[in-house]
């Protein structure tokens, strides 16, 4: 498992996120939720589209197209029209820089 540098932790404000792509072409959404960083695959399992543009509410990202919601901590789907969870990726902070793993949590 390799770690990908995202950005300085200070650069991602609470309630905001950044996108990063792994070597396997998986796009990840790395979000700051109440000072904790979490990463999920940037994919709405409803229509296979991107979650980019969605806002974060109560630790969940809301799909900007149809309103499906995914928990940023667990990847669990919490609101239709999506019914499948998304993958969650480990995140760590090294010297103030947010890093994300290139393999999902099991």
């Amino acid at each position: 498992m390799a770690w990908i540098k995202v950005d300085a932790a200070a650069a991602i404000a609470d309630g905001e996120y950044q996108l990063v792509t792994t070597e396997d072409d998986v796009e990840l959404l790395v979000a700051n939720v109440d000072g904790e960083f979490h990463a999920i695959e940037n994919l709405c399992t409803h229509d296979n589209g991107s979650l980019e543009g969605g806002c974060i509410e109560d630790g969940e990202i809301v799909c900007p197209r149809h309103g499906a919601r995914f928990c940023l901590r667990s990847g669990e789907v919490t609101a239709p029209p999506a019914y499948e969870d998304v993958d969650v990726y480990p995140v760590r902070i090294v010297d103030g820089v947010v890093e994300v793993a290139d393999e999902p949590e099991d």
Binding site: T21, D24, D25, V26, E27, N48, G49
Partner: protein, 434 residues
């Protein structure tokens, strides 16, 4: 970066090739450049690309290939098929590694880069530049390829083996072959397109194949894609058939990080028939997409399609088989089947067989299945003393063999069977047993 910026970046990469060659060709290329600039690369909002996202591919930089020596790699990856052999290293024809042998009367097999004028009446006639952004990009800047021209009644007994090998380069390269097959009245040939690469090769192959069959012509086409796990492969095969012609396609898709194959067949006159066989096997995070379209444009035409998929780990498969029966195409038969075996909880298939019928006297069927190995069959094997891993392997290979066994060239059959067995999950790897 916006899509237009990607398009500009890609256009500037291929521009050096656009002005090469005779006047008619530069005009054709220039038209395709404009088409590509308008169309851009496909995106997920297009129904045909809904499940295959090329956004990550679009962001990558590619350079143009240069001639390199790859004799060892070519020998290692060869299927060892007897007959004519044309080798392309990073998409460029390699005469020293090829064997054009003695061609029978009426048969011309010409590397395209040096013989573009011979292809003037064929190039771009079957594959429309606007089929997708990738097709336009290929027409704008194909580097090399082959023209197989069969005169009326010409019969090529031995297969034509087109071996495409990608090498590991410091900068990933964009490989764009163009393959043209023109079969005259009652002409016959077998063509094998084989793609493979060094383990570290990270190139992008953008392939377009055009096949034109005159009355009574018979072409058997093999497409074997075994590229490395870092390569991208987007290909489209366009076929146009006249009266009583027969086209058979065997499409085996094993390699690539992202692989997309389109097949478009136009059955334009009575008696034309097409057989489309396919097998895709995904491991890791591979994404394998097969889209086929058969247009029944005339009465008494037949199409038969059988695709099978095996998906393991987190791989993803896409199958879309569409048959369109046009208003005057009475008494046609169109049959379509797609079966999928999922070996892991995380593997996924999006399958959509489609029939669109405007005539009222036709025989059509289509179906799609997705499932796991049959537990009762597993039990039957285990009750005969075969351990579980071996039993799972045997059943999975048996599923694939329904397609593989229709491959008529023994060397290709054996190597594909072995390659499939070698790619099954390690716990039931059958390599060496088949």
């Amino acid at each position: 970066m916006s899509l237009s910026e990607y398009t500009d970046q890609w256009l500037s990469a291929v521009m050096p090739q656009v002005s090469e060659g005779p006047g008619w060709l530069t005009d054709l290329r220039q038209g395709a450049v404009e088409q590509f600039a308008t169309q851009g690369l496909p995106h997920a909002r297009l129904e045909n690309w809904k499940y295959t996202d090329v956004k990550a591919l679009a962001k990558r930089d590619f350079s143009l290939p240069k001639k390199v020596d790859a004799a060892e790699l070519v020998a290692e990856k060869s299927l060892g098929v007897q007959g004519l052999r044309l080798v392309f290293v990073d998409g460029l024809f390699s005469p020293e590694l090829s064997d054009l042998g003695d061609l029978p009367k009426g048969v011309n097999v010409l590397p395209l880069a040096d013989n573009a004028n011979a292809a003037k009446t064929v190039l771009g006639q079957v594959a429309a530049a606007n089929f997708s952004g990738f097709t336009a990009l290929n027409l704008a800047s194909w580097q090399d390829g082959v023209l197989i021209d069969l005169a009326n009644n010409a019969v090529l007994e031995q297969p034509v083996y087109l071996q495409f090998v990608s090498t590991a380069q410091e900068n990933a390269v964009l490989i764009q072959p163009r393959i043209l097959i023109k079969a005259g009245v009652h002409a016959q040939a077998t063509v094998i397109e084989h793609y493979s690469g060094a383990e570290e090769a990270a190139s992008f192959s953008n392939v377009v194949t055009e096949v034109d069959l005159a009355d009574g012509a018979r072409i058997t086409h093999y497409k074997l894609q075994q590229e490395s796990a870092k390569q991208y492969h987007v290909a489209s095969l366009h076929v146009q058939q006249q009266r009583d012609s027969r086209f058979t396609s065997h499409n085996i898709c094993l390699g690539g990080k992202l692989a997309r194959q389109d097949i478009q067949v136009e059955l334009n006159a009575e008696g034309a028939e097409v057989y489309l066989d396919g097998l895709y096997l995904g491991n890791g995070r591979q994404h394998l997409d097969n889209h086929t379209l058969v247009n029944h444009n005339a009465p008494h035409t037949n199409s038969n399609e059988d695709y099978k998929g095996i998906l393991n780990d987190r791989s993803r498969g896409v199958f879309n088989g569409r048959a369109v029966v046009h208003r005057n195409a009475q008494k046609i038969e169109a049959h379509q089947s797609n079966a999928n075996l999922l070996l892991s909880d995380k593997a996924e298939i999006d399958t959509k067989p489609e029939l669109e019928i405007y005539a009222d006297d036709v025989k059509c069927s289509h179906g799609s299945t997705t499932g796991q190995l049959d537990e009762s069959a597993l039990f039957a094997l285990r009750s005969r003393g075969i351990d579980e891993a071996m039993a799972r392997g045997l059943l999975t290979l048996a599923f694939a063999n329904e397609v593989i066994d229709r491959i008529e060239i023994p060397e290709v059959h054996d190597q594909i069977e072995e390659a499939v067995a070698g790619r099954l999950p390690e716990k039931f790897n059958l390599k060496g047993l088949v």
